[in-house]
Structures are given as C-alpha cells and as structure tokens.
C-alpha cells in the first residue's frame, strides 16, 4: 500500500471519537439549557412577569385555534411524485440515539376514560382498517416535507376501545421518553392516523417504529414517534416541548 496516498486518519478510525464528542456536546447543551430553566423557572423569558404574560397569551392562542379548527377541513394531499426524498430525521436528540424495540415484544397500552384497557399487539393493529395519506409535515422550526403514511385512523381506534369521545385530551407516551397530547376534536379528525407504515413499508426506527401518530392538522412535534401508550383524559397532560413553552394546540 502506498503510504503517501493513504489519508493521515481514516474516517472509521475516528468515528467512535467523533460520536463521543457529539454526545458530550449534546449533553453539555441539554445540561446548560436545563440549568437555565432551573435557575429562572422560566423558559420563555428570564423575567417572571413577561414569562407569565407570554404563557397567558399562548393559552389565548390555544382557545382561538380550537375555535378555528374545522373537523371537516382536510389537509391538502399530494401525488406520490411530491414525496420529499431523502426524508429528514427529527427528534429532540440526534439520529444516532434512536432507540429500537423488538416488534414481537412491543405492546400498545390503553388507559384513562376507555371501556377496554387491553393492550394491543402490532398484528392486532394491522388487522384493523388502514388509511393512507400523502401530506405535508410542517416542523415548528419552519421547514416542511411531504411524506406518505398509512395506518389505523385514530377515530376508529378510539371508538373500538370505547373511549369517552367527550373527554378533552388524548395523551401519547413513547419509549424514547417523549410525550405529547392533543385535543379530542383533532384526535377524531379523519386524517389523524396511528401510523404503521411509511412509504408503504413498515416504519423504520428513524421514523418512529413500530407505531407513530400522523396528524397533518398539527405541527410536527405533535406527531409522536415510538408510541407505547395512549390515554384518554380530562386532565391536561402537556408534553415534552409544550412544557418547555411551545404552543400546546399548534394546529395548522
């Protein structure tokens, strides 16, 4: 081998170091952000009264958006040619931290104001009616991409488990320690789907395997991945980002 042509360092020799560095930087970032919120108790402003005023305005925004929400207004759908490739990964952590679960071990827990609290396996969910959609996923950061998802309409699932459809919230828990919640009218929207497939293939780990929510009437962070539990409740469940100050309703 010609040593002159060989690079001084090969990428695979340093990959582990780079990943560790990445991990350390990520930890440092989250620690300083956490420390900041511990110090001030405020995520929206360092000034208590400004923080309270902004949170009050966000609650007003929630009410206005709930009033604006039309349960029959469908999100625009696109032809297959409009699908964005490559599809962008997004989570509150980098892609190398994606967790996986053994499909046969996975169960969906159902709790709260429902008649039937039996846990569901993937095969049982696949036996239910499936809907497909090609819609635009809009991130709270401003970027957007068109994707193709299919799975069980949430309104069908909620009726099947005998959920109290007059309850206020549907909350989702995930095995990547993410959680979020949506209002019941949005949960019953025909395009709100408990998604099993992405681009007509079973979800892969970056896209939320084995189960995610696809709700094209809300911003991306209201589309939880890696779902393991669904709860129907009247107690405001909040969410990972919502508790940090993102607008809870975040309807599109």
């Amino acid at each position: 081998m010609n040593d002159k042509q060989r690079p001084a360092v090969r990428p695979d020799e340093v990959r582990r170091d780079l990943e560790n560095l990445d991990r350390r930087l990520f930890l440092r970032g989250s620690l300083s952000l956490g420390a900041l919120s511990l110090l001030t108790g405020c995520d929206l402003s360092t000034d208590d009264s400004v923080d309270n005023a902004l949170r009050a305005m966000l609650r007003l925004d929630d009410r206005v958006q709930a009033a604006l929400f039309n349960p029959n207004q469908l999100a625009k759908t696109y032809p297959a040619s409009a699908i964005t490739r490559p599809f962008r990964f997004n989570a509150y952590y980098p892609e190398w931290q994606v967790r996986t679960v053994e499909a046969s071990q996975w169960r969906l827990e159902v709790s709260g104001l429902v008649d039937d609290r039996r846990a569901w396996s993937l095969a049982e969910l696949r036996a239910l009616p499936q809907e497909e959609q090609i819609t635009r996923h809009v991130c709270v950061e401003g970027w957007s991409q068109v994707g193709q998802w299919s799975g069980v309409p949430l309104h069908f699932f909620l009726r099947r488990v005998g959920a109290d459809l007059r309850a206020k919230y549907v909350a989702f828990g995930c095995f990547d320690d993410y959680w979020t919640s949506i209002d019941m009218p949005s949960a019953l929207h025909p395009q709100t789907i408990l998604t099993l497939d992405f681009e007509q293939k079973p979800l892969e780990p970056p896209w939320g395997a084995p189960l995610r929510l696809r709700i094209p009437t809300k911003l991306g962070f209201k589309n939880p991945k890696y779902i393991t539990s669904i709860a129907v409740t009247n107690h405001y469940p909040g969410g990972y980002w919502e508790d940090k100050g993102y607008n809870w309703f975040s309807g599109l």
Partner: protein, 207 residues
C-alpha cells in the same frame, strides 16, 4: 397657512402609531428568532438582535404581538377610512408628482411640512400599510396552512408563502430605515408624533 389649532397628528393617531410601532418591532425581532431555527437564506440574525431567547420564546412573542398588531391595525384602518384621513392625506398619488418629488427627495431638496405629505411620503405610507396587510395575510397562511388552505394556495403554497412573508418583512425593515433617517433629519416630526404639534405652513428643509 393652515390653522394652528388642528394638530398634525390627532391623539388617536399618535396612540395607534406607537402601539403599532411596538407591535411591529416585536413581530420583526421575534420573527428573526423563528427564522434562525430554519434559515431560508445562507445567514442567520445575530442572537442579540432576535427576541425571545430561543425558538419557543420567539414563537410566544410572535403569537402574542400579532394580536396587538392586528387589533391596532384594524382600528387604524377603520379610523383612516371613516375619518377621511386616508382620502385627505394620502390621496391622490399620481405618477408625475411621485416622480418629481422622488427626484427632489434624492437630491435632498424636498421640504417637509408637518401634517402635509409630499408624494413620496404618500407613496411610502400607503405602500407600508399595504405591505403590512400582506405580511399579516402571508403570516396567517403559514400559521394555518390547513384551516386557511385557500389562502396558502393563493400565496403559492406553504414554502413560497414563507419566502414571501420574509420578503415583505424585509420591505418593512427597509421602510423603517428610511422612516427613521428622515425623522433624524427632521426631529420636529418625532416631537409632533409624541406630543402633537399644530400643522403649520413652515417647511423644514434638509440641513
């Protein structure tokens, strides 16, 4: 010479001006915070210039100040139409007078009278009102691309509407730079907008 008893800017206009100014500045600076989360151009705004500290703070400011801007803006539009302020002070805007006054202005030879607008001012004030209205509409179209999908389609879809929203913001910032430089040239206009000075016939000229 007009009567001195009539203020160049009635109290209600002064109040709406400063509320609107506060709301627009909040909208622009928090908008920069939101832009920085996913820039569409190869630059971001310096963090010290962006309002809200981080994305959630920026959005909270944006979704709060928008109510102030819309309420103030609607009140101003209703007042402007009902009182005759628009018709009296902003019209007519003819191409010939605009061309003439623009050349005079660029040569720094255009005078300024309190309470009376030359053709360039008329064009700029009407222009910025239209631009602010369009900014609110494009903002609505990217805030509610499903519920107001027809509006989003009108602006060419989500991604294009976002670019138009940014471009309109840039026009408002451009207006503010011209507006503030002229106030610096004619400080009497600032006092007039703060405490209200009578209309008079004496013209300020560029120093």
């Amino acid at each position: 010479m007009q009567t001195k008893s009539r203020s160049a800017h009635p109290l209600i206009v002064r109040v709406m001006h400063w509320i609107g100014a506060f709301a627009i500045i909040c909208m622009i600076l928090s908008g920069w915070q939101i832009y920085n989360a996913s820039p569409i151009l190869p630059f971001v705004f310096p963090q010290w210039m962006a309002l809200g500290g981080w994305l959630a703070g920026g959005i909270a400011w944006h979704l709060s100040a928008m109510w102030v801007l819309v309420a103030d803006g609607l009140a101003y539009l209703v007042y402007g139409i009902a009182s005759g302020h628009f018709r009296r002070d902003f019209l007519p805007i003819g191409p010939r007078t605009v061309g003439h006054d623009l050349i005079q202005a660029l040569r720094l030879r255009l005078g300024h009278r309190l309470g009376e607008y030359n053709a360039v001012q008329r064009l700029l004030y009407v222009g910025v009102i239209v631009v602010v209205i369009l900014t609110v509409l494009t903002g609505l179209s990217i805030w509610k691309p499903v519920q107001l999908g027809w509006l989003t389609d009108l602006f060419g879809g989500y991604d294009i509407a976002r670019c138009i929203h940014f471009t309109l913001m840039s026009l408002i910032v451009g207006f503010l730079l011209v507006h503030l430089s002229l106030v610096a040239f004619f400080p009497r206009t600032l006092i007039s907008m703060l405490v209200g000075l009578g209309r008079d016939g004496s013209a300020d000229t560029f120093p």
